[in-house]
Assembly symmetry: C2
C-alpha cells in the first residue's frame, strides 16, 4: 500500500482531532483522581467532568443533568430501549444495535422507499395503542439519507393527544440515533422533537466508546448497569473522565466549524459523484439526494465485486467501505441495500464513500481517478467495456 | 494545598503509567480505524486489539476468546450477573455493583467476621439447590482483606458434584471481582477456581472505564448490550482500541514488577501502620492482617471526625479516603464498616490509606508525620490528649 493513504470511510471511524487528544491528556496521568473522591483535586476533576457534560448538552440544546454518559452509541441505544416494555416501531434500515434491541420486544419494522426515506405515514400506521417507543436514526449510516424526524415527532405528539383524549395512559417516546449527523447537522433536541437522542464521540473526531443518551426528564430510564450510582444512578461505574473531556472538545470543534465544513464536504462529495457518474453513467447513486449527509456518497456499479474492489483500491492507498463497518466484515449483504430494493448484482457492487476532515479537494480528486481506473479495469477483465 | 501532593488513595484511582499512555497514543489519531473495517490498516488495528486481549488473557491464565472487554468493572459485574436467573450468594462487604446486581434476583447475603473475612462455612450454608451464582471479591476495596477464593471454589465444586449425583441440573458458578488485587497479587483463574472474573484497568495504572469479564466457556453469558456483534456477540459496540491496548500494557507492567512492588508496598504499609499505632496505640486497624493487600491500611481513630480530617489533611497536601470513592461522597456510613461491627464512633473516625506507585519511603514517612500531627490536634481540640 502506498505511504499516502486517502481515507474515504469517515462514517466508520474518525481520527481523534489533535486538539481533542490534547484536552484529554492531562486526565490520564496527572488529573487522574476518582471524581467521586472527597478531596479538592478530585473535586476539580468532578467539576471538569460536569463542565464537559454541560458543553456537550448545550450543543444539542439540552441540560447537563439530562445526559447519561455511556461507553458507545450501542450502549446508549440499548439503554434507551431498556426502559420500554411495550411495542416498538422502527425501520428496516436502522443500525443493528437498534434492530437487535427492538427484537427483544414486541415490535413493528416499517419499510423505507428506494432512497432510504422512511415514510411518516408508515410510522403512523405502525403505531398501535400499545406502542411505547419509536426509534428512527437521524441519518442512515450507509446511505446518508436524513429522516424527517420533526414530522415523525408530530405524529407521536398527535398519538399522545389522542391517548390523552380517550384516557389511555400508555406513554410513547421518540428516540433517535444521531451518531451519523451530529458532526455535520445542527442537532437540537427541541427542534427535532425527540424524547431521547444518542450521540457518539467516535464519529465526530472524539474517542471511541464514549457516547451519551440524552433523555427528557419525563422519560423513565431504567438503569442497565447498577452499582455506585454514577450518572444519576442510571449508569454506574467510575466515569471515563478523559473520554468525556475529549467528547466535549470534539463537540465544541464540530459546532464551531459545522457550517463551513458541511458546505465544503457537500461540494467535495458532489464533485466526486459527478466524476464517477461521468465515467460510469449507469452507476446508481443511492440515498435521498435532496436530504443526504454532506460528505456521504453511496454508489453502486452493477456487476462489480465490491469486496474485491475494496482490496484493489486499498492496494492503491484508497480506503473505502462496502457498507457499515459492522456488516462489512461478515461477508453478508447489507440489510440496508436489501431494504431499499437494490438488485443483488447492484448491491454487491456498492461502495460507501464518506468524506470528512481528512478529505481535501486534491485527495478526493485523486481518489476519484483511482476508483475510475480500477472499476474500468474490473469491467475490462469481465469483458465489459464501460 | 501545597504543590507537592502525597497520594494515599490508590484504591480509588491510579494514574495512567506513562508507558501505558505511550502505548495508547497511536490509536487515537493515527491508527484510528474501525477494527471491523475490511482494509489492511483496519485489520492491523484489529490484530493489535486481539494481541492486546491475548496479553491480558495470558496474565490471568486464560485464553483471549474467553475475555469480554467492557467499559468498567461495574459493567463486567452486571454482565456476570445478567446470565443468571436463579438464587445468588454474596457477602455483606461487596462493592455496591455486586450488591445492587444481586438485589435484582433472589439472593442471600452472608456476613463476614470482624476482619472482613467471609467464612467458607457461611457460604456453604447459604447455598441452596437453586443457587446459580456465588460472587465474592478477591480482596475487599475498603479493608484490603483477601478472601479464601480457592476454598470457596472447593465448596462450589462439592455442590456441583452433589447435584450431579442426585440428578439436579441447575448450574452453579463462582464469580470474583478482582479489581482490587490484580495489581499486587498473582491472579490465575485456574488456581483461584473461579468461573468468572472481573478485572479493571483503572486500578492497575491503566485507563478508566476499561475492564473485562473473563468467563469459562461453560458459563452461559447473556449479552446485555446487543448490536453489531462485537466480543463474540456478548458486548456489541465499536471496540475501545486505545483503552484495551493500554490495559494490556498496564497488565504487562503489573506482572513484570508485581513481586518486587508487592514487597515494597507491604514494607511501606507496615512502617506506616507502626508509626500510626506508636502515636495512637488505641487506634484500630481493620482488615485481616494475615491476608491483606500489600499497600492497604484501614485504620480508625475513635471519636475523630474522619471527613473533617480528610479536609485538614488535604490542606497539607495529603490525599486520603474515608472509604471507597463511591460511598465517600455520599455522606453515608460505609456498609463495610457496619458489616464488620465497628462502633459508629470508630467507623466515623476511619481512614483508608492505600499505597501504590506514587508512594515512596520519604513521602509515606512524611504523610505519617502529618497525619499524626493532625489527629493530635483534633484530639486536643476535643479536649482529649492522646
Amino acid at each position: 500500500m502506498p505511504n499516502e493513504v486517502i481515507y474515504l470511510d469517515h462514517a466508520a471511524a474518525t481520527p481523534v482531532d489533535k486538539r481533542v487528544l490534547e484536552a484529554m491528556l492531562p486526565y490520564y496521568s496527572e488529573q487522574f483522581y476518582n471524581p467521586s473522591s472527597p478531596y479538592a483535586p478530585a473535586i476539580a476533576v468532578r467539576n471538569d467532568y460536569e463542565h464537559a457534560k454541560a458543553v456537550i448538552a448545550q450543543s444539542i440544546g439540552a441540560k447537563a443533568d439530562e445526559l447519561i454518559m455511556t461507553a458507545g452509541a450501542t450502549e446508549s441505544i440499548n439503554l434507551a430501549f431498556g426502559g420500554v416494555s411495550g411495542h416498538i416501531v422502527t425501520c428496516s434500515i436502522e443500525h443493528h444495535a437498534v434492530l437487535q434491541a427492538a427484537k427483544r420486544r414486541e415490535h413493528t419494522i416499517v419499510e423505507v422507499d428506494e432512497r432510504g426515506s422512511v415514510s411518516v405515514a408508515s410510522i403512523a400506521d405502525a403505531i398501535t395503542p400499545k406502542t411505547e417507543l419509536v426509534s428512527i436514526a437521524l441519518a442512515n449510516n450507509e446511505l446518508g439519507t436524513i429522516q424527517q424526524l420533526r414530522t415523525i415527532a408530530d405524529v407521536i405528539r398527535q398519538e399522545r393527544e389522542r391517548r390523552l383524549s380517550v384516557g389511555e395512559v400508555t406513554p410513547i417516546y421518540l428516540h433517535s440515533d444521531a451518531s451519523q449527523g451530529v458532526g455535520q447537522l445542527d442537532v437540537q433536541v427541541a427542534r427535532l422533537g425527540v424524547d431521547m437522542l444518542t450521540v457518539n464521540a467516535g464519529k465526530v473526531y472524539g474517542p471511541k466508546q464514549v457516547a451519551l443518551l440524552w433523555a427528557a426528564r419525563s422519560v423513565p430510564i431504567s438503569a442497565a448497569i447498577v452499582g455506585g450510582g454514577q450518572e444519576r444512578g442510571l449508569r454506574s461505574g467510575t466515569e471515563n473522565v478523559a473520554g468525556v473531556i475529549g467528547f466535549a472538545k470534539a463537540v465544541e470543534l464540530a459546532v464551531k466549524h459545522r457550517k463551513g465544513e458541511a458546505d465544503r464536504l457537500d461540494a467535495l462529495r458532489n464533485s466526486l459523484q459527478r466524476q464517477l457518474l461521468k465515467a460510469f453513467p449507469e452507476a446508481i447513486v443511492s440515498g435521498n439526494q435532496k436530504r443526504r449527509l454532506p460528505g456521504h456518497l453511496h454508489i453502486s456499479f452493477d456487476g462489480i465485486d465490491a469486496e474485491r474492489l475494496v482490496f484493489r483500491l486499498e492496494s492503491r492507498g484508497v480506503l473505502v467501505a462496502t457498507g457499515s463497518a459492522c456488516a462489512a466484515n461478515k461477508g453478508t449483504r447489507s440489510h440496508v441495500l436489501t431494504a431499499i430494493g437494490l438488485a443483488d448484482s447492484v448491491a454487491d457492487g456498492s461502495l460507501r464513500l464518506t468524506l470528512g476532515k481528512l478529505s481535501t479537494e486534491e485527495n478526493t480528486h485523486a481518489a476519484a481517478a483511482i476508483i475510475i481506473e480500477e472499476i474500468t479495469q474490473e469491467y475490462a477483465r469481465m469483458g465489459k467495456i464501460s
